[in-house]
């Protein structure tokens, strides 16, 4: 019965009924590649804010997979094609986080160039890895993830599976960074490449979930007063961080992009 699975983690549902992944995908709910997958089926449907018609049709199709002997008739409303992407009107504090994602995504886009021909024996190669790790720790983690964990998530029930999943992904990201440093110590190039690629894959999906789903859901649930409070707490947190470090991170990305561009031209 569908009701029995509403309170089941999505990974467990998909593993028992693999067809559910494809149905969710059709509704732009990308749970299949999620590295955690502990969100409950009912919460996933709620958080994606589908139209009533789409939600009804989605649930009917999932029910049909879970219990084919009792097919539920989906309403005869065709699934509307996704609307063309529009600029999303995030509230100012969540806009700050989305803007910070842009710089992190620029690093993620550069990781294939960082690992390509990486020479861990040379001083230059080692310095490149250390600067990459420094960007991740100073900007992506201390400046950005800390605002989420120490401030934003506290405006919501921290026992929500989606928030637990986000924290868990932050931890996984940190463990990849530690592994990169350990591998650098050992001079193990392959391990560095493996963990940087894994970090790239994890963070790309993590940012997509936050930008497209989590922040939009949060904005729908924050009051005007909470938006003001959040903005002010973010500003305070930013003021406590050395702006020279943040500027250094931005400069690092620009330099790396220029270097990548120059080497592309040389080919």
């Amino acid at each position: 019965m569908l009701e029995d699975y509403l309170n089941t983690g999505i990974k467990a549902v998909i593993s028992q009924f693999p067809d559910v992944a494809a149905i969710l995908e059709e509704y732009d709910i990308g749970c299949a590649p999620c590295s955690v997958g502990s969100c409950l089926l009912k919460d996933i449907v709620k958080i994606h804010h589908l139209s009533d018609e789409d939600e009804q049709a989605l649930m009917a199709r999932i029910a049909g997979v879970i219990d084919p002997s009792r097919p539920v008739k989906a309403p005869a409303i065709p699934r509307s094609r996704p609307a063309p992407p529009q600029a999303i009107a995030y509230s100012p504090p969540l806009r700050k986080l989305v803007d910070e994602h842009v710089l992190i995504k620029r690093l993620l886009a550069l990781i294939p160039r960082v690992v390509e021909n990486l020479d861990v024996e040379s001083e230059e190669g080692r310095r490149l890895i250390l600067r990459t790790v420094d960007f991740i720790r100073s900007y992506a983690d201390k400046y950005h993830h800390a605002k989420e964990e120490d401030i934003l998530f506290r405006y919501f029930d921290e026992n929500l599976d989606i928030l637990k999943a986000m924290r868990e992904e932050h931890e996984k990201a940190r463990s990849h960074v530690r592994a990169v440093l350990d591998a650098l110590e050992k001079g193990d190039r392959e391990e560095i490449v493996e963990h940087l690629n894994a970090y790239r894959e994890l963070l790309s999906e993590h940012i997509r979930k936050e930008d497209e789903i989590l922040y939009r859901w949060m904005d729908r649930n924050l009051s005007l007063t909470q938006v003001g409070g959040l903005f002010s707490q973010f500003t305070e947190a930013e003021e406590k961080i050395d702006q020279g470090v943040i500027e250094g991170c931005k400069t690092f990305i620009v330099e790396l992009e220029e270097k990548a561009w120059d080497s592309k031209k040389e080919r």
């Binding site: 009107a89 100012p92 007063t225 003001g228 903005f231 002010s232």
Partner: protein, 145 residues
Amino acid sequence: MFDFRDKKTEPDAPVAEVKSQLRQWPIQLHLISPAAPYYQGADVLLVADCVAYALGSFHMDYLKGKSIAIACPKLDEGQEVYVEKIKSWLDDAKINTLTVLIMQVPCCMGLLNLAKQAAQASERKVPIKSVVVSLQGEILSENWV
């Protein structure tokens, strides 16, 4: 000129008394002091004069729990003082948010522009929202500035 007398309205059913949500006096932007205690850390509404007449649910949907000032960007004089007062809300009263409610008529945009000017000149930033109300009291847009 527009005449809305043909507009269908709800029948005169008995309704519970609608309580005023106003928590302060004065409210006109020339008369208020940005240092008044009810502006400290508050969610503040800056409202064009006509809005409260057009928007039937103004008290419950917008004014409740907030502090307010009203102004008319078309008719009021001395609007440079307005910019200074709004700036003082941001920098001195450390307001939490500013919501600017205006009518859809072009002249009303001047009030939003005053708020933007003040925000640009202020050292402290806060979330600013603009709400545009139609002549017949519908919310046409609600956007973060």
